[in-house]
Amino acid sequence: MTDYNEIQQDIVDEFSVFEDWLDRYNYLIELGNDLPAIDPKYRTNEYLINGCQSKVWLHADLVEGKLLFNADSDAIIVKGIVALLVKLMNERTPAEILQNDLFFIDGIGLRQNLSPTRSNGLLAMVKKMRLYAMAYQAKENQNKES
């Protein structure tokens, strides 16, 4: 599997061909549309990350030591960014997610979308993805010890 940071760099490179912002958004809309809708059982308040502007749903499983993310948003551009995050973090070990910095968002000029004041749920989602990784890592370590 491609290196974690290589994927991030690929995303940055992909976006660098767009000169116009609206082209970038068009691409994010495409990505958002292509991301399979979340399993309805996870599109519930329990898995809701409430931004006051848009909603994000997130669920993660650990299968054979790798995280499988299931995510969605009610806003399509946000969902496009969600798709990128899932593309990057899906099927990764908790360690991979926790050891590497997330730089692609900044690299494609979407940093503002992860600011706490934007309240679109994305920043909280990234935190939650890392939390899942931490929780599963802790669980794995526990299992090893016992």
Partner: protein
Amino acid sequence: MGLNIKQIRSDFPILHQQVYNKPLIYLDNGATTQKPQVVIDTVRELQETRNSSIHRGVHYLSDQMTDRYEAARETVRAFLNAASTNEIIFTSGATGSINAVAFSFGEKFVTAGDEIVISEMEHHSNIVPWQMLCDRKGASIKVIPFYDNGELILEKLDDLLTDRTRIVALTHASNSMGTINPVKEVIKKAHAKGIPVLLDGAQMVQHGEVDVRELDCDFYIFSSHKIFGPTGSGVLYGKESILEELPPYQGGGDMVDQVTFERTSYNTLPFKFEAGTTNYTGAIGLAAALDYLQSIGFEAIGRYEQELTGYTLEKLGGIDGLKIYGTAANRISVFSFLMQNIHPYDAGMILDKMGIAVRTGTHCTQPVMDHFGIDGTIRASLVFYNTMEEVDALIEGIQRTIQMLS
């Protein structure tokens, strides 16, 4: 005489810039308005050559600043046609003003079992301070509902005004739907039962003349930054007879007469409500903004904004699948809308990249969103420096947004 929009726009330096290589189209005036050069110059002049704490100094600069500050109070008095400068309190903003009344009035007049009447279309800042008061006192809130077009259901008011109602707090104009409320009728009904009325003028004062004596409201509040003045400043008007009775809501310097460790006697109006070093720069900047508006003329501004409103409604109405939330006949140039199946946040993000600044979300009026069963809207809020061409650009932007998202 019509407005010379070109001239007016040249008075606002911030409007002449590009964002994302597109000319800025600023349609978020409901959130905050831009400042004319004269306000910017006034604030800078004060900082550069006049800064000194007011009301205390024995020296030249302090005298000068105190005079300017009290002259600003007179400008605000004249603007609202209040009877006396004793009725004009400078605060930190509309929110600060409402909190002040909710606290002081509440301390004096509200007890367990009492009721506060507000409306379904209030901004959170005209809901939460009253809820906090109710929690402190064991009082409760009663709500005047509105019709789907955004007009208040006035008939309901008669039942809501009881012998337990202590105050009616109502927005003069809705920040999310644009409705101008029939405040004179509300005041008449309330006064007939001896109930005072607070009007939230945060969204009204920048759109038309307000005469507190003609309205006969008991409190009127607004923010400086929404009427082309500096941020962090606002006004609380209160009838002198009521303000006299209210206890201060903050203690500190300047609001006192005599202080000993045993007891303190308070200063007279309006100083009793202005504890500590006030935002004198903001107040004087606000006065500069009011003078500027006066020089243009509220009548001309009102007429032009009506034209702008008619034009915007017509153009928005021509877009397939676009729904306007708030279609009251009497309205300000604030428009909330949604396009079929399009999330307002997506639309806002795309419009932003076209250089168009709108607001998306609940606009701090979650009960209004609940009324319509929606999560939020896109809001374009216009003032007299906006143009028909900007409305055209908005319409084009909306159409492009629809294309991209459907």
